[in-house]
């Protein structure tokens, strides 16, 4: 394994969110990316292309750099707010979305259908809130402490908001109750957000000292009418999907696709599982599945290699 750079899974895998939530977020993220791509094509200069590309690699690599927190755990920079500040919301979204997709593809960190949710939490919310907070605090012309403070708040807020969104998604999927989600995830990210804020502030201040021209590049145009209109349409999409899910006029397969988790009470109970040891049996059964998987896998491999060798 590589020395030094480690990674901890932190994106939502498949299976936790209900299909309904996952798909509506897929639709939302997909539409946002299409929208941002369109705006990018029409309005941003080609010069941005390599910048976004290299920064995607930068963020991906930076997210693998850990620093110790509380002796046991470790944290790392997420970078959404930072990108939002430096590149503006459109380019920032595209860059972070790239990172999230790459993490799913290279590290299997985050599920396939859950990509929409992960892009939304880690790509969209952090970038937009970070960028918005920074601008709202009037930090674009600021320097010194004001700049650092704005960076800090932007970074911290992006984490808390992102975690809250995630908690909502989990709650709506009936996977984690809202109370636990908000306190645990929200609380954890409120603390880890201090580090994110500090690092964001640190990098922004560093850049202001060393390459102030990078901070004031005219990257994205300000928010125009088309952005607001686009934003409204985008937000409407998941709502439409959710509403559709409730309607009964849909064909069956589609209906079940959009339905909530299967009724848990329907869980089939086999003869073995009628006593207290059922949990143990379930665990053993699960492990047995792995063993079976391995057996079939190896059998197939062996057969193929024999055929290949002859």
């Amino acid at each position: 394994m590589r020395d030094g750079l480690q990674f901890r899974p932190m994106h939502i895998p498949d299976g936790i969110l209900t299909n309904r939530i996952a798909l509506s977020l897929d639709a939302l993220s997909g539409a946002s990316i299409l929208f941002a791509s369109r705006r990018f094509k029409l309005e941003l200069s080609a010069r941005m292309i390599p910048i976004m590309g290299v920064l995607s690699a930068f963020i991906f690599a930076a997210q693998m750099l850990n620093f110790p927190v509380f002796g046991g755990t470790s944290g790392h920079l997420v970078g959404g707010a930072l990108l939002g500040i430096m590149l503006g919301p459109m380019a920032g979204l595209l860059t972070m979305a790239t990172v999230v997709v790459a993490q799913a593809l290279f590290l299997q960190d985050g599920g396939l259908l859950a990509l929409g949710a992960n892009i939304f939490n880690i790509g969209a919310i952090t970038v937009f809130s970070g960028s918005a907070v920074f601008r709202l605090l009037g930090a674009e012309q600021a320097s010194g402490r004001r700049l650092a403070l704005a960076g800090f708040v932007a970074g911290w807020f992006s984490m808390v908001l992102s975690a809250s969104a995630c908690a909502f998604q989990l709650a709506l999927s009936n996977a984690v109750p809202l109370g636990i989600g908000l306190t645990a995830m929200g609380g954890y990210h409120a603390v880890i957000g201090v580090a994110e804020g500090a690092l964001t502030a640190g990098v922004i201040s560093f850049l202001h000292k060393v390459r102030p021209d990078l901070l004031h590049r005219d990257f994205t145009p300000g928010f125009k009418l088309v952005d607001w209109a686009g934003g409204l349409v985008l937000v409407a999409i998941p709502l439409v999907v959710l509403v559709l899910a409730g309607s009964s006029g849909l064909p069956d397969p589609l209906q079940s696709l959009l339905a909530g988790p299967s009724s848990i009470a329907d869980a089939a109970v086999s003869p073995l599982l009628s006593n207290r040891n059922q949990d143990l049996y379930r665990v053993l059964g699960y492990l047995a599945l792995f063993a079976l998987f391995a057996a079939i896998f190896l059998a197939v491999r062996w057969i193929r290699n024999r055929k290949g060798a002859s």
Partner: protein
Amino acid sequence: MKHSFIDRFGDLDSPLHVLDARTKIVGFTALTVAALLIPAGNSGQFFAFFFFIAILAGISQIPLQYVVGRTAVILPFVLLAGLAAPYRGTQRWAWLAALLLRSTLCLLILVLLTNTSRFAEFLRGLRKLGCPRIMAVNLGFLYRYLFVLSDEIMRMRQARDCRRVGALGTISEMKILGSMLGTLMVRSFERADHMYHAMLSRGFSGEFPVAAPRRFSWRDLAFVSLVALFIAATFYL
């Protein structure tokens, strides 16, 4: 420095590897969706899926430890999330079981999808399926420059470690991390500028050219049909 954690198995020779990337993306995504639709108690269906995926994995020539290893790494997180669920008693374990089974299946499928194609091929497939050009270009740059950046980070860490004695507190660590990140960011912008000049020098004018054509073969059709039949069979039989 050599890096091999990405694209390690993309170059293998297997019936899955020779398929067009589009086929694999569509096929494996369909399997994922299907897996997520398996009702909680249908052990038969879960078993069928495991069986099918095991066969596909066996054919793929990817080492067993890798497949299981990648899956196992993510599972504790799933378990944690599962335990937090608002169910009690039998319901809770049923939910957990269904969750684990579904997540495992989806993870196995994802490992197969991402390790049976060269990343460049995968990107081409995505592009043909309608992925926005800028996203495909970005992913390409990320893939290409990840190693360059990781090397730079390694070197910076080594340089830092040479000048460090003992463990420092979190705050000092973070300060150091902050300047490392800042420096890295500046270098990234500089590299991006050079890249831009290099792109311009080779005639780039804003639009990316379309690459070489791809061939579909009977194998692609066979794979997609197989997946479709399998899913239909497990759901309707």
